[in-house]
Point group: C2
Chain length 427, copies 2
């Protein structure tokens, strides 16, 4: 079994190392010996693991993926191009593909699945979501006889690290980001993580598998964490909440699904509140299985490489058996509903005038929009007078309209933090 | 695709219901319609789900499993016989088998795997361990490219419920057991659960998959929870520990594995300490993946049926593709070392004479056996004088010898609770 490796960065170098160090085990588990046929890199002359045979390196990825000797291509370059072109070329030549490329899968997974089916090859991508945590295989196979109702979790380690530091040390977003960068948890350009693009791609992949429907990143409502302040974190803490960036994929009451990524307050007693540092954790709720949780390292070279090699063994077994694994399952074709139709609860902090009748006026605005208030707390006096409102569940559109109306209210000096509240099952 | 169901109790009735209610989804996911060909029961005349067609019921399980029309047999009778005979008959006739039978798999899984291989059929058994929690498939497939070093967890819901009630209410073992029986968490004869047989069977299955070796229930060191007293629970609580029945499968420093089920004290801050009621949770530690946790409902009709149906979909897909899934992987053939060689830490409560020199004498006994003391606490005076010792890691045999010697010491009036301590990574 000959394997071509595209990319030799954080993940690729670990894949190469494990293929070498665990060659005997992997061969025994597959039933055939493995050989690394080549490693495509951008620059040959980078410093690399001295145990990696330099003769394997090539800058000609196109030639490597079409090499007639190669059986399986592992793609860990990331990004949409040239990864997509290379994967399609490999598949056209009958090679199976293992990839960790969440951005590509979430943007144009359909094209990859189509090509896999047409060429009778495998497309496996466990490593694209939540690193080493087995999540896609359980969704795709273990729960294939059940009806998944909701997937909710922390799928981005960088933002969890930043929010955890802000919560535990009182740091500002900028300071926590810098610390994450210094430790290698965040990239020099952190946009993909802190603006929620990475989590949104993962949410699209999870939703597609969970609901047997096609979901792309464009379908995902996405908000990042860059505007969260130390004051927000402190306010949340004072109310017994912690702020997490959540990915939420839910079947709604009608026949559709909602898929969203945004920061949310969750009670400190919720199991997701205890997920620290750069860890990931995902709840999967299914009608018969109930609530399952999966927890582990969501990123990093070795954990992601572990997921890649698990897929590689599966793909190799399939090739030896002359079959391909389960193909894309999108028969349910559930529509993705817009965020406005999603039912959520919200925390809203209002700076208000310190005079009588303000609460009544504010309550009236909520009532006019059919948004029911669960709790309201008055804090401070004079220029510091605040109203902290937590609502019951209502449509996100109604909440947005309420906030717009509140901004124009004379009694309201400013609308402060508006944040969704999750993890409480009260209506 | 025609399915025969053996057993229609707590799990079987839910399998029949889900096969009916989710027929369309399952057919779409497999790519072929499903039909329940028959349900083997011991007594036809029991009250049953009125939606189950009585014409499907039969007491002749032997005829059902050899029915030429049947493609897949689901076995949820439990127990070794007649389940084993029926499964082997079904396989001999070319039928694939999905089973939840942990006792049979742990006692004689090799015979079943051999029969599956010889007849070119599938043997799937996700439901045999931890109910709906996808655990076997991740071990067998997702981690196939990694090296699992340890599996540790709570795999028996009944005993977890009992210990949780003892911990949270101060109840005695007998009272907590009665409550569990009243709620249906424990059976009228609770032996299999409270003596650890059920957990030991699951540990054997987990260890076999994790270490690619053959492990049977006879290889598992097993201790139950029947001797745990309210005082033990209270003492553990006072020291910041909680008592859980753990299943632990670990690769040791040499080239072997240890597999054991016993009650242990774990710190209240450990994630397994927070697993309440009848829930299950399992940590899987692998060299590259790091520490993964799986959590969910470990038993119950619907969750177990969910796991059975997931396997059924996989088996059906394999049959349509004309292949069989991954077979037993025991190439590593690691020996199972006896409990005496296992390195553990222990909590030991000694009732001692209240006079000077006792601590020195006790410490000497530990030293003579090469067991290093981590902490020692003196409590009470006079007839209540106690020494509470927590040791560092040492071989279980050395600990046992130490305890035997302590019992004969004049200064020791009695050896009270001796319990292993887990979940702290200090040496």
């Amino acid at each position: 079994m000959k394997v071509a490796l595209l990319g030799c960065g954080v993940v690729g170098s670990q894949v190469a190392r494990l293929l070498r160090e665990q060659a005997d085990d992997i061969a025994a588990r597959v039933g055939a010996p493995f050989e690394l046929a080549g490693v495509a890199v951008r620059r040959i002359d980078r410093p690399r693991d001295p145990a990696l045979d330099p003769a394997l390196l090539t800058t000609d990825a196109g030639a490597l993926v079409t090499d007639p000797d190669v059986d399986v291509v592992i793609e860990v370059i990331g990004g949409v191009e040239p990864a997509k072109k290379l994967i399609l070329e490999a598949m056209a030549k009958g090679k199976s593909v293992v990839t960790a490329n969440k951005a590509l899968l979430a943007q144009d997974g359909a094209a990859l699945h189509r090509a896999a089916r047409r060429n009778g090859v495998d497309l496996y991508y466990e490593a694209s979501v939540a690193g080493a945590i087995p999540l896609l295989r359980p969704l795709r196979e273990s729960l294939a006889g059940d009806r998944v109702t909701r997937v909710i979790g922390i799928v981005n380690g960088t933002t969890n690290y930043i929010l955890d530091r802000m919560d535990s040390t009182g740091a500002s977003f900028d300071d926590a980001l810098q610390e994450a960068q210094a430790l290698g948890y965040a990239e020099a350009d952190p946009t993909a993580d802190v603006e929620g693009f990475d989590a949104a791609a993962k949410a699209a992949i999870l939703a597609g598998l969970a609901f047997h429907s096609r979901v792309t990143s464009a379908d995902v409502h996405r908000e990042g964490i860059t505007r969260i302040t130390a004051a927000d974190i402190a306010n949340a803490r004072a109310m017994g909440y912690v702020i997490k960036l959540l990915a939420i994929c839910a079947r709604d009451d009608g026949h559709g699904v909602g898929v969203r990524v945004h920061p949310a307050m969750i009670p400190r007693t919720h199991p997701l509140a205890g997920v620290r540092e750069a860890y990931n954790a995902v709840f999967v709720e299914a009608r018969s299985a109930g609530r399952l949780m999966f927890y582990g390292a969501g990123a990093g070279g070795a954990p992601t490489a572990s997921a890649v090699l698990g897929d590689l063994v599966a793909v190799a077994r399939n090739r030896l058996a002359g079959v391909s694994g389960p193909s894309e399952s999108v028969y349910a074709a559930l529509p993705v509903h817009p965020m406005g139709e999603t039912m959520t609860r919200s925390y809203i902090a209002l700076e208000v005038l310190d005079k009588s009748g303000v609460l009544a006026r504010v309550a009236e605005v909520f009532a006019e929009h059919d948004v029911s208030i669960q709790t309201v707390r008055q804090e401070g006096r004079g220029d510091d007078a605040q109203l902290i409102v937590v609502t019951h569940r209502s449509s996100d559109a109604a909440l947005a309209a309420t906030v717009r109306r509140l901004r124009r209210l004379d009694a309201v000096r400013a609308v402060g933090t508006v944040m969704r509240v999750e993890g409480e099952d009260t209506a």
